[in-house]
């Protein structure tokens, strides 16, 4: 797998809607306008990530499930 940069895939918006086939929802205008570089995205993730990841991940304990 190549280590290429994250890039948005084109949304299929030019196709006509076919009955019975889900039509991809159009990306928001702002999303289309902002073709961000990967660094911008990762910088945003830095701001979104829970602080003190180590403690948080250690505290994420679940009981069994199906």
């Amino acid at each position: 797998m190549s280590q290429e940069q994250i890039k948005p895939q084109p949304q299929k918006q030019d196709e006509e809607a076919v009955p019975g086939v889900p039509t991809p929802a159009p990306a928001s205008a702002s999303a289309q306008a902002q073709v961000q570089e990967v660094d911008d995205l990762l910088a945003e993730i830095d701001g979104v990530l829970e602080t003190n990841a180590e403690e948080f991940v250690r505290g994420f304990v679940q009981k069994g499930g199906q």
Binding site: M1, S2, Q3, E4, Q5, I6, P8, Q9, Q11, K12, V18, P19, G20, V21, P22, T23, P24, A25, P26, A27, S28, A31, Q32, Q34, Q36, V38, D39, L41, L42, E44, I45, V48, L49, E50, A53, E54, F56, V57, R58, G59, F60, V61, Q62, K63, G64, G65, Q66
Partner: protein, 544 residues
Amino acid sequence: MTVKRFAGLETEFGILAPQDLNANATVLSARLINAHADLVARERHHVAATSWDYTDERPLHDARGFEMDRDAADPSQLTDTPRELTAEEIALTTDAQPGKIFAEEASMLAAMYREDANDVGHVRMNMVLGNGARFYVDHAHPEYSSPETLWPADAVLWDQAGDVIARRAADHVRDAWGLGELLLYKNNTDGKGQSYGAHENYLMPREVDFEKAAAALISFFATRQVFCGSGRVGLGTRSGTPGFQISQRADFFEAEIGLETTVRRPIVNTRDEPHSNWEKFRRLHVIIGDANMGQVSTYLRIGTTSLVLSLIESGRAPEIALMDPVEALQQVSHDPQARAVVRLKDGRKLSAIDIQRIYYDAAASLCADTGADTEPQTADVLSRWGSTLDALARDPFEVASTVDWVAKYQLLSAYRDRNGLQWDDPRLAMMDLQWSDLRKDKGLYFKLAERGRMERLFDDAAIESAAVNPPEDTRAYLRGKAVTAFPDHVVGASWDALSFSVPGRARIQRRSLIDPFWGSRATVESLFELQEDIAAFVDALPRT
């Protein structure tokens, strides 16, 4: 053949109160269900007093033709009885200590809901929703079971609706009840040895030989993760080995076939609980899937499985027998290049993509022979299945906008490269968890989706609508509309029955929904024009 098939999805959410890591998970789950009930009550000034009806549950029936001894079953398998809070948990619901449900909350709940068989200490453990779904406490997790749908795209839509319902309830716990943040994760493991599932259910004709079906499904299920896995940081049930793998669930499977869902998990589950006419149908209960945030991954998971079931039913399933299916499942998952080859009993060595191509070719051939490839959604599933396999073979990153594990892997790899991290760095484990965080401002899936980097089949408005409206072409329509139209009178519900309390009649009126196709909008819409005439409404429904 088409991808049209009666199906439903179940999602168990991971749940956490970050302000109190020791909070009881069952109590947190109950809090979430009750928050949803409160939201419904506030919107409609009333909430249906519907209990879950366990009469037709048969969790120990095995599709291979026998019944498991009740004493031999793991307690968690006994899903035919209401989950009751323990004495300790009941105490927690009324104790105003930090990390426990506040006294005011408990008294509010007591005022809101009358006590019945499914309410423990006035705490509601089960809800039947206006969209036909079930939202309930399953052991230590909140679980959303989607209403029955007929098309893969609809299965995606009502599955996504469950995410919205769950997150909105958690927001209500925080904003209206002031009980702090309740975090929900649409993932399948805590990375410390525990796993919780995302189950699929598909209706099949009973006449299909189950052993033959299982044989054809095992190789398909062991390999379909390459286009519907959700990706996971860490290898092994306790994440003991650093790395990234394709599937959330693969490491938790130990058997090829069996009845269990919580221990000795099997690739093919044999629970025989049709929730419909036993003579005509069986319900294939699939426990091996990952919970997907992405719409296309879910769509492919349901659509391709439906096509493989059609292959089985038409006697045209390819014969692919893995030498060691459980080992192959994990081998495939542990190679995020999607190149690992696994051994077949006939001596061949094939990759998961090769094996999926064999199923795809058989499905494409059957669709062409039956003319099904002209049906739009069937053609769409087939086309996406084939092109996704082609792209995976060239370079998995080509499907980063549609396949969850690839999107996650690409994002985490980029972060890892940028910061020079090893796979055992807690920040990568944090990103893995936060990928499936249902908060839109925190969940990393949503961060990609809002930038247009994840292909979507449905926009937010469609998902919002599915959170309150049932599908129109199955019995879920009748169930959902009935609890909305007659909240005072629908006293019991299950997948295949509704029970009514009718003024002037001493006995509960139980009505069958055993035919899963009866109860669609076309069949019952006129009944809802009866408005408040519950007696006439009930009399128009078939008797059990």
